[in-house]
């Protein structure tokens, strides 16, 4: 199957390893991956911070870039949720009904990585080997907007050598929330203090999630605490081999 990769601007700029990992997994499974270079950003930060007019050109360019593909994969729960839940709706509310129609047609074919693997490609064992103690944090948009359920966990359970442990109070938000982390830094840090305490309680070596922006927040806090826990995107664990 030919799959278009929407790397997302955060991964493209700060976490290129995640994009490379997606390419590695999908190619290993025998699929063709393409990276349309016209892609930039889904517009989530602008929409969620109160700038829907600034998000509009980004929604338009996403639609222009990806509407000819049968399947688009985004290794980010919140970007996939932004595209799927908000692109069409936002375009309609901003009065561009033609764009809304195109977005509504395209966005059901945009998948977060775990969805693509489990629902579309029908695999849970991607042939990964990762002999480490790992705990998984279900990020909010993946959990409540995409309703990923246990899909990421089903993929992780098949990883050879993994010691997968439950995260206490897993469904509690880490406190990132995009610009919330800056605008309400005290509350955000207080939420993350509880999240990192739960992570450390598991004695895991690695915290895994489907969103690098949340991991930047939790990982940045774990690093400041000199906790000895590192964070990894689901794709990077699934891409690991012997």
């Amino acid at each position: 199957m030919k799959i278009a990769l929407f790397a997302t601007c955060v991964n493209d700029t700060l976490y290129p390893g995640t994009g490379k990992a997606v390419v590695r997994i999908l190619e290993r499974l025998g699929h063709q991956v393409v990276f349309p270079e016209a892609q930039t950003c889904c517009g989530q930060m602008h929409l969620n911070t109160g700038y829907p007019d600034q998000a509009m050109p980004l929604i338009r360019s996403f639609t222009d870039t990806f509407e000819d593909y049968d399947a688009v994969v985004a290794p980010s729960g919140s970007c996939a949720a932004m595209v799927r839940d908000w692109h069409g709706k936002t375009a309609a509310r901003q009065g561009d009904h033609r764009l809304a129609e195109r977005a509504f047609a395209l966005t059901p074919r945009v998948y977060e990585l775990a969805e693509l693997l489990v629902d579309v490609l029908g695999v849970t064992d991607v042939g990964a080997v990762f002999p480490h103690r790992v705990t998984y944090h279900p990020t909010c948009h993946g959990l409540r907007m995409l309703k990923l359920g246990d899909k990421p966990l089903r993929l992780l359970r098949e990883v050879e050598g993994i010691d997968l442990v439950d995260l206490p109070d897993a469904t509690e938000c880490c406190g990132f929330g995009g610009t919330f982390a800056l605008k309400n830094a005290d509350v955000s840090a207080a939420m993350c203090a509880d999240k990192t305490a739960a992570v450390k309680q598991t004695r895991a070596e690695v915290l895994c999630a489907v969103d690098n922006s949340c991991l930047m927040h939790i990982g940045g806090t774990l690093s400041r605490q000199r906790s000895g826990v590192r964070v990894m995107h689901l794709a990077e664990i699934l891409a690991s081999t012997r």
Binding site: T13, K20, M45, G177, V187, M191, G220, S223
Partner: protein
């Protein structure tokens, strides 16, 4: 919006008082986050209610259908609000009640003050009510020399402490029982000298204090949980029975009800009397459900006044996205699951409506003129836990984002967001930015970053090469022909 540019400025000023000197949400939350006792009280209390609610909801296999029915009934009623309100007025009047219409808080307060004065009384007992908190009724009555006594245990605690409520259902959630014991010992004349902090002892002290008032009060003031348009029946649901004392013993009952509390028919209660207690107190059924229709000769209050309060609700109704906030049945499930509320506490929201629902109600009722109202739409990480538990499916994150667009119009960050959008609109500009940042990491590895981030979190190291640069370098030839770049 400033007072000079907001066309509703005059209207909103008389709706819900903004507490004098109330700072923005982040500023108020800064102090709350540092208050270890508050954090402990809140984490314990909300954690307990949260688990019990989840269990109470899981018991019903038709919860999703009930929730959808609740949403639809409210939406339908809001759509035909005028029709149903006139029906309610007709039925209440026919049953011997008197209906009053109040455009805003000032009008409602004036009506209630006049009605109390007409009875010749200077003291009223009160049933726990959000609408009267919203309009600041107790303070308004005090200006007329009328004392309003809160009879809900938690409201009584808040009133005795000259405090403000911090939760819709549990107004004194920020206080633990040791604090309440001290308060009763100091402020409640009838409290025994050896009062302990056992909940049963505290309740007994409050019972003795209140019982004397119930038996002598001539006038009661209440809110309403529901009103039935086609019968004229008004309902109050509660746990303590103190509400029923107020609703049955006095000679005069004055009920202040937000217009959105209306339901078309009594059958609709089948849905809401399941949704509300399970979401609110995690009970299958609330202990006391009081319903009355006008007046009944020889039984209960012989004078009944119903004050129908708009106070901005019809403006909220006109907002296509924001109007869903009017479905709210004040259950407080959203507060109990909110990670922001649990850390910031209720007072930071600067309104009787704290938590996620307050963050969308207060700025809509009052407008976004004050510091706190302008900051409330941003007081959320948009985690969506509130929407998940809301029994009438209010998409609170959607309304928050909608209100952010209104509040953002006057923020200085606008230029930054515009520049970012400009950079992100073009892959070439994004690639250039990544290239420059990649080089800069050698020059200034510790680039100045907002302290708001860097105070508690390390920054990720910038990679040598962006993903797109890697792709171009290693797969440049494999670029899909469909790709327009």
């Amino acid at each position: 919006m400033s007072a000079t540019t907001d066309p509703h400025a005059d209207a909103t000023a008389t709706r819900m008082p903004t507490y004098v000197g109330m700072p923005s949400f982040p500023k108020a939350a800064h102090e709350a986050v540092a208050d270890t006792r508050l954090r402990r009280n809140l984490a314990h209390a909300t954690g307990t209610i949260r688990e019990r609610r989840a269990a109470a909801v899981t018991e019903l296999d038709d919860w999703a259908e009930l929730r959808d029915a609740g949403k639809r009934i409210k939406d339908h009623t809001l759509e035909y609000l005028g029709h149903y309100l006139r029906m309610l007025e007709e039925k209440v009047t026919a049953a011997g009640g008197v209906v009053h219409w109040a455009r805003d808080a000032a009008e409602a307060n004036a009506i209630v003050a006049r009605l109390v004065k007409e009875t010749g009384e200077t003291e009223v007992v009160k049933v726990k009510s959000m609408a009267t908190q919203e309009i600041g009724l107790n303070e308004a009555l005090a200006e007329h020399g009328i004392t309003a006594l809160e009879t809900d245990l938690a409201e009584l605690i808040v009133q005795l402490a000259d405090d403000r409520p911090s939760h819709i259902l549990v107004p004194a959630i920020h206080k633990n029982r040791a604090e309440i014991r001290d308060l009763f010992s100091h402020r409640m004349p009838s409290a025994p000298a050896d009062l302990t902090d056992e909940p049963a002892d505290l309740a007994e002290a409050a019972r003795r204090h209140l019982r004397a008032k119930f038996l002598t009060a001539k006038v009661a003031v209440s809110g309403a949980n529901f009103a039935i348009a086609d019968t004229g029946t008004v309902l109050v649901v509660e746990s303590e029975g103190n509400g029923r004392m107020c609703l049955t013993l006095p000679e005069t009952l004055i009920t202040v009800m937000g217009v959105e509390k209306l339901l078309p028919t009594a059958r609709d209660l089948e849905v809401f009397l399941q949704l509300l207690p399970r979401s609110s107190t995690a009970e299958r059924m609330n202990p006391y459900t009081s319903a009355w229709t006008g007046v009944t000769p020889g039984d209960g209050p012989q004078n009944f006044h119903l004050v129908l309060l708009d106070n901005g609700r019809t403006d909220v109704r006109d907002d296509e996205v924001g109007r869903q906030a009017l479905r709210c049945i004040r259950c407080s499930a959203c507060l109990n699951v909110c990670p922001v509320y649990a850390r910031a506490g209720g007072h930071a929201y600067g309104s009787p409506y704290p938590g996620p629902i307050g963050a969308i109600l207060s700025p809509q009722i009052r407008g976004i003129g004050s510091k706190v109202d302008a900051s409330l739409p941003f007081a959320s990480s948009l985690c969506g836990a509130c929407y998940e538990v809301c029994p009438v499916a209010i998409d609170i994150p959607e309304v928050l984002v909608h209100l952010r667009a209104k509040a953002a119009k006057k923020l200085p960050e606008k230029a930054v967001m515009k520049t970012a959008a400009w950079g992100l609109r073009s892959p070439a500009r994004l690639a250039l930015g990544q290239f420059v940042a990649g080089k800069a990491r050698f020059v200034a590895p510790h680039l100045q970053f907002p302290r708001a981030w860097a105070d508690t979190r390390d920054l990720p190291a910038l990679p040598k090469e962006s993903f797109r640069a890697w792709w171009k370098r290693t797969r440049g030839d494999a670029t899909d022909p469909k790709d327009g770049s």
